[in-house]
């Protein structure tokens, strides 16, 4: 689907007639606007639909259908049939605003518990979503999500995760899902230097594919406090002149873990960009809602700043260009609110 500038165009002009001599109420521009309103992939343009569809008479609608080959086709039938996959697509797009509203209104614990469930029930599983939940929430927030999970599903997050993953992934994801990190600022500088060296040795000197077997890397990432890890990140950069997450690039889940723990705004701004670029998956698109709704009260200012820095355009501008209708307005309002906090 093409992305076009979304403005509704109501044009006052003389009544026109089509080939069959029927009255047409809408202009080609309005047809185009209507087409855009139906095209997603981030919501639907309710305003256009409201104004233009109401204006349309049957002749206009026929013209519209005949001129929207991506949505309708009349190859086999005697009429312009709505393409069934587009119909499904459109249903989903109508629901985007609804889902955003529900996510915003729902108790954060319930919301996160549902997301945890989803992360491993999707095929393929969304490990980065689980990592995001476990690492970007505070200890108390994620504990709340774990309680809600038990309430909803009569089992603990730990058993749910452990039984669905194996090997290294199990060790990392179960540890992340069950940790209750110290959230304070006290750190042991000497220990940090030591553990920074351990990480450096494991990553730079030992074979890279042995990292998964390295208990110390796992221990440090899954038990140390966030402030501690941010300090190690800095120490690592000073000692080895590279970023920890870049050096772990081969192992996606480790890289996501480091990003989520040490610099959530960087992680989130990347996800937002991916959601609004060309050809994202449905999961990647949904992340747009999730990130905006869940971070508006936390660190939206930092995310917007990082987004601007990295992608050269203000976040609000990108959303206004990519999204439609109420969904767009809702997201933009949440971003503005987050930035004002």
């Amino acid at each position: 689907m093409d992305k076009r500038k979304k403005t509704t165009i109501l044009v006052r002009r003389e009544k026109k007639l089509n080939k069959e001599g029927e009255k047409i109420m809408t202009s080609p521009e309005e047809c185009e606007a209507l087409r855009t309103a139906f095209s997603g992939p981030h919501g639907v343009e309710e305003k256009s639909m409201l104004e233009i569809l109401v204006k349309c008479n049957p002749a206009d609608l026929t013209t519209f259908r005949k001129n929207s080959p991506g949505i309708f086709s009349d190859d086999e039938c005697y009429f312009e049939k709505w393409d069934s996959s587009h119909m499904k697509f459109l249903e989903n797009e109508f629901l985007r605003f609804q889902r955003a509203v529900i996510q915003r209104t729902m108790h954060p614990w319930e919301r996160d518990a549902l997301l945890v469930r989803k992360s491993l029930e999707e095929k393929p599983p969304l490990y980065n979503l689980l990592i995001e939940l476990a690492c970007t929430r505070t200890s108390e927030e994620f504990l709340g999500a774990r309680k809600a999970f038990q309430c909803l599903y009569s089992e603990s997050v730990e058993e749910f995760v452990a039984v669905r993953v194996e090997g290294f992934q199990r060790r990392l994801l179960v540890a992340l899902a069950s940790t209750y990190r110290y959230e304070g600022m006290r750190i042991d500088e000497a220990m940090i230097k030591l553990e920074c060296q351990k990480l450096g040795r494991a990553i730079k000197i030992d074979k890279k594919n042995e990292i998964e077997k390295d208990d110390e890397v796992l221990r440090i990432l899954t038990t140390r406090s966030k402030h501690y890890l941010k300090t190690i990140h800095k120490c690592y950069k000073e000692s080895y002149d590279s970023n920890l997450e870049e050096d772990l690039d081969d192992i996606q889940i480790l890289r996501d873990t480091v990003n989520c723990l040490c610099a959530p705004p960087i992680y989130f701004s990347k996800i937002l960009d991916k959601a609004m670029s060309v050809g994202p998956t449905e999961q990647e698109i949904e992340a747009l809602t999730r990130v905006i709704v869940t971070r508006t009260d936390v660190d939206m200012k930092d995310i917007a700043a990082e987004f601007n820095r990295k992608f050269g355009a203000p976040l609000i501008e990108r959303i206004e260009a990519a999204a439609l209708g109420n969904y767009r307005d809702f997201l933009v309002a949440l971003v503005k609110r987050g930035m004002a906090n």
Partner: protein, 328 residues
């Protein structure tokens, strides 16, 4: 039920002054200390600490540490703490103080409590030591022991009563494969090295307690022997010993603690730390039931055993906590 005998009326100020008098002069009047502190519940002890701080501008615990010594001092200084604080302190000492962490204390801390109680201990631990319990356990252990202990300490277990029979059955088989598949013996009496540890750790550290009990029952049905027997009795294999201890603790915490107490007095010399720990931590909870279990299993009363295996002020203090009035 508790064994502690504490009066309803008391005056924290008077107690604080009496304690201070006991510290004065040559030596210390241990009997007064035992008489007062050994007959005060947690709330009362807290008030006494506050009163002492107010009147004498000194921390009562610091004073006790200075005035007393040995096993008696350790028992009293643990006793005087608020119960949750005490659990955090015991865990810390078990991890940090010795050259090797005492895994039994860590398992007791984690497995004799509800999920919420364990959470409260972890919060208190963070408050006291500015690190999480998980990170300290992790950084002082290694290998399978680390994986197991960290997992057991971290989990926020589901507390519902539901049991999934199919899962219990299948996990009993999985446990059998890991335990009996190793060492080449394949027999019912284990003793060989474990084939692996991933699944045992997963099952023991994530499943709810009712679910685990069902799994242990199926294990016995399928393999003809209890899971603890299968894990063998090689004392050099610390990891298997830890697994056994965890399973026993999950099956029956009171019986497990009774064993800890029996064991502490069974050797040449007594393991005072273990003995104190159990008596001090359970005196206000269920030490009475434990005494019954002890009598049933050993044919001897716990009071008699403690009286014969310990001496001096330490003995007097433990017996007071056990509910003896007439020891003076």
């Amino acid at each position: 039920m508790a064994t502690l005998l504490a009066p309803e009326d008391f005056s924290p100020g008077e107690d604080a002054m009496a304690l201070n008098k006991a510290f004065e002069g040559w030596g210390t009047d241990e009997k007064t200390i035992i008489w007062i502190l050994g007959h005060r519940n947690a709330d009362q002890r807290k008030q006494i600490r506050l009163a002492y701080q107010e009147i004498y501008l000194e921390d009562l615990i610091k004073k006790l540490k200075y005035e007393l010594s040995g096993d008696f001092e350790r028992a009293v200084c643990h006793w005087i703490l608020d119960p949750v604080e005490r659990e955090a302190v015991l865990a810390y000492e078990a991890i940090i103080k010795n050259y090797r962490p005492d895994y039994r204390v860590i398992l007791e801390t984690a497995l004799t409590k509800s999920a919420e109680e364990l959470l409260t201990v972890k919060r208190t631990y963070q408050f006291l030591y500015k690190r999480s319990l998980e990170e300290d356990v992790a950084s002082h252990t290694a290998g399978d022991m680390r994986k197991f202990l960290v997992a057991v300490v971290s989990v926020y277990r589901y507390e519902g009563e539901e049991i999934e029979e199919e899962v219990a059955h299948s996990e009993a088989n999985i446990l059998g494969d890991e335990i009996q598949g190793g060492g080449g013996s394949g027999g019912g009496c284990g003793g060989g090295a474990l084939k692996g540890a991933e699944e045992i750790i997963r099952i023991l550290s994530t499943r709810s307690k009712p679910q685990l009990l069902a799994t242990f029952n199926y294990y016995k049905q399928i393999h003809g022997t209890s899971i603890t027997k299968s894990l063998g009795g090689d004392p050099a294999d610390e990891f298997s010993a830890a697994l056994r201890a965890a399973i026993q603790c999950i099956k029956n915490p009171k019986r497990y603690l009774q064993k800890v107490v029996s064991h502490s007095m069974n050797r040449v010399g007594t393991e005072e730390d273990a003995l104190s720990r159990v008596i001090v931590t359970r005196a206000e909870k269920d030490l009475k039931e434990m005494k019954d279990v002890y009598l049933e299993k050993t044919g001897r009363s716990l009071d008699d055993a403690v009286a014969s295996e310990t001496t001096g002020d330490y003995k007097a203090f433990l017996l007071t906590l056990l509910g003896n009035q007439d020891y003076f």
